[in-house]
Amino acid sequence: MLRIERLSKAFRDKKVLDGLNLIVNEGSMFGLVGVNGAGKSTLLRCVSGIYDTDEGAVYFNEKNTYEDEKIRKQIFFVSDDPYYPPAATIRSLKDFYASFYDLNEEAYEKLLKLFALSENKPVSSFSKGMKRQTMLLFALSIRPKLLLLDEAFDGLDPIVRHELKKLLYEFIEEDGSTIIISSHNLKELEDICDSYGILENGKISSYGDLLESKANINKYQLAFNTPVDESFFKQFEILHSHREGSVYSFVIKGERSEIEEKLRSLHPLILDTLPVNFEELFIYEHEGGDR
């Protein structure tokens, strides 16, 4: 289990993470989302032990990830722009990672074949997508207990993205590992993540089970033939509202059946309830946070 307690991190005068608390359960695929500059990469670097924290700490299986180098053997971080030494080849990188981690030879061979990468060509000659595949190849061959993927799907073609999703599922299923993925591609995250967290103003503003959260936020469209007292809507936790003539649309957080019952008491001509997707959930949560 990953436990983050009162984590604060500032760069010069800018506080990026501010007393952040988070728990990610073992065997979970956690989607970390946030606007640009929200601190997703900083958070992942703190978790992987690259950055020291200004306050608070990160524990994986109750061990501090910055102070305990042994626990870092169970963690692997794939940054959004990975480093490859000059003239590095997949073979030389294999030697490098095999020096520090227990690299699974079988998984390595399988993935090498799957990604169709050349072992002896310099990585510098690879395309952006191939470079990312190279790092994913090692990430999945090392089979860490905690895998941190920053912008995991960036630069991958649809076929590789599909393959990667399958591999991540298998990885969790077989090893019971935990994966944290940060991405701006919420559609991809929605497909694979079971839980999520929205990073905003240095804190996790909203987090939980993705399906539950999605079920808890819905889009309601109502139409009336007579004017309604708008103060009636103040009782709801409205994330977004829009009115066009006598047609109202709301995004409301709360139990769907209860909200529908209350809305029906206004005798609308039409009442439609639509589910939100992860992207809408993020947008509305973000707007809600701004309010």
Partner: protein, 502 residues
């Protein structure tokens, strides 16, 4: 504290570099036919390695992407630091060890088989001693250079810091020396050997040469290096183990980096220019007229240094103001130094007296300008007395037992004071018709050299000749003569077979 995995990785990833170093070292050691030169060159190569290897091994802390890869590894930072230092040390030590062993092997053969001897032939003990002493020396050098490299936040700044702090002791030495040379009559340098303790590379070279030449250990340098290693260990702990990973590729803001380094070197350069004013010019306007372009160029270099520091064009009114302030302070300093006679330092030496003995060399103008290796712009007629070289020795001259008389002391002091006046009045003595007074203190380490643009008068010379502590040598193109206490001239050393009294 030490990571075998990381060390193995460093060995394998740098194997080509290590092979290259080994080859260069062996080719130099085996190919060199001059005994001893291989050791000196090997020392230079090793010093070079002590800069290059930390740049390669610790490059990752200066690269935003590499820092992610390396600092997320399951190795503690302390272990990475120790392992990296050990790796660099082995590379440097290997280089010097090859040189020591080759030096030892060649020392077993006669000099004419190997070539000319430089330095003296070695013995197995010296080789073993060199191998033993060079181990802590190389370690200290590597630690110090690594600590300098880690002051910066990227590769360029790291290299600049290495260069800046390595050269700084030399720059300070030059500044202090030039002050004494330019503003203190007598050019009497204080003992500046303490500055070497700020230069591990100088102490290392000193140690190596002392062992090679004399088979002795320069203990003060060895202790100095050990202190440098301890200080570096503390700095490395702060700059690597406690380093914030986010420093990579950011602006270097450590106190010891910028703008301190820029300002230090600005002060050195501005002072160097101001020295010209203090030495050669009487009017500020004339000096500024001659050196205005130099000041403009230096200001451009100053702004360029700020550009390097900030990695973008940076101009703020504080920059020219600071620059002007430094220039004004430097001009004020040199003017004060000149008007106060080197802040009174010229008068701190007491007149020659007591146990001192005097040797006076008198030159006559002649057509042979190369007598005693001195070249004079001879203006006087042939056979005319033009000037003297007076040397007052704290140590007794061989066969001299008498003490300097009060009269002798007064005469020399009169000319010395005249020389001081000439120095501050800008009346520079030419070699013709001048007196050069050198005062060598006990032990003869540093000298006071006064040049008076007036030759010692003949009546004074005759008075000096009467003092048995004074040895007067008259040099002509035919030979050297000594003036006896009775005032007569006797041949001392003849340049021609048939010599007669001039």
């Amino acid at each position: 504290m030490f990571s075998k995995e990381y060390f193995r990785y460093l060995l394998s990833s740098n194997r080509y570099l290590l092979i290259l170093l080994l080859l260069v070292g062996m080719l130099n050691a085996l190919g060199n036919t001059i005994r001893g030169l291989d050791l000196i060159l090997q020392g230079i190569f090793a010093a070079g390695c002590s800069f290059i290897l930390p740049m390669i091994v610790f490059y990752h802390v200066h690269d935003k992407k590499a820092v992610d890869s390396y600092l997320s590894l399951p190795v503690s930072r302390k272990a990475m630091l120790v392992t990296g230092i050990v790796f660099c040390f082995l590379g440097v030590y290997l280089m010097i060890a090859i040189g020591c062993i080759a030096f030892g092997i060649k020392g077993q053969y006669p000099a004419d088989v190997i070539g000319s001897s430089l330095p003296s032939p070695s013995q197995p003990f010296n080789v073993l001693l060199a191998l033993a002493v060079m181990a802590p020396t190389c370690l200290a050098l590597v630690m110090f250079n690594t600590a300098l490299y880690l002051i910066g936040n990227d590769l360029i700044d790291g290299v600049i810091m290495m260069g800046a702090y390595t050269c700084l002791p030399l720059a300070i030495y030059i500044v202090i020396s030039s002050f004494f040379y330019s503003f203190v009559a007598g050019g009497n340098n204080p003992d500046l050997s303490v500055i070497r303790f700020f230069s591990p590379i100088y102490m290392s070279a000193e140690l190596l040469l002392m062992i090679a030449e004399q088979g002795k250990v320069y203990w003060s340098s060895l202790i100095g290096l050990c202190i440098a290693a301890l200080l570096s260990a503390y700095l490395l702990h702060r700059s690597y183990v406690l380093r914030k990973a986010e420093r990579a590729n950011s602006r270097s803001t450590s106190f010891f980096s910028y703008p301190l380094v820029i300002n230090l070197y600005l002060i050195v350069c501005v002072y160097a220019i101001a020295t010209l004013y203090g030495m050669r010019y009487k009017a500020l306007g004339e000096f500024l007229g001659d050196h205005f372009v130099l000041y403009i160029l230096l200001f451009a270099a100053f702004v360029a240094a700020y550009f390097l520091y900030r990695r973008k064009f940076y101009f703020n009114f504080r920059l020219p103001l600071f620059y002007l302030a430094v220039v004004l302070v430097s001009l004020l300093f040199v003017s004060s130094a000149r008007s106060s006679r080197g802040f009174g330092l010229s008068d701190r030496y007491e007149k020659a007296k007591g146990p001192d003995t005097v040797s006076i060399d008198i030159w006559y103008a002649d057509n042979n300008n190369e007598v005693n290796d001195y070249i004079f712009e001879q203006q006087g007629k042939r056979g005319e007395y033009v000037g003297v070289f007076v040397q007052v020795n704290g140590d007794k001259i061989a066969n001299q037992v008498s003490l300097m008389s009060e009269e002798t002391s007064d005469i020399i002091e009169r000319y010395r004071k005249k020389a001081i006046d000439d120095f501050y009045e800008g009346e520079y003595a030419e070699y013709e018709a001048s007196s050069h007074i050198t005062i060598v203190p006990d032990g003869g380490f540093s000298y006071s050299q006064y040049t008076c643009n007036e030759a010692i008068a003949l009546k004074d010379l005759i008075a000096l000749a009467k003092d048995p502590s004074v040895r007067i040598t008259v040099t002509t193109e035919e030979g050297e003569y000594r003036i006896g206490t009775d005032g007569t001239l006797r041949i001392y050393h003849s340049y021609v077979p048939d010599v007669t009294k001039p």
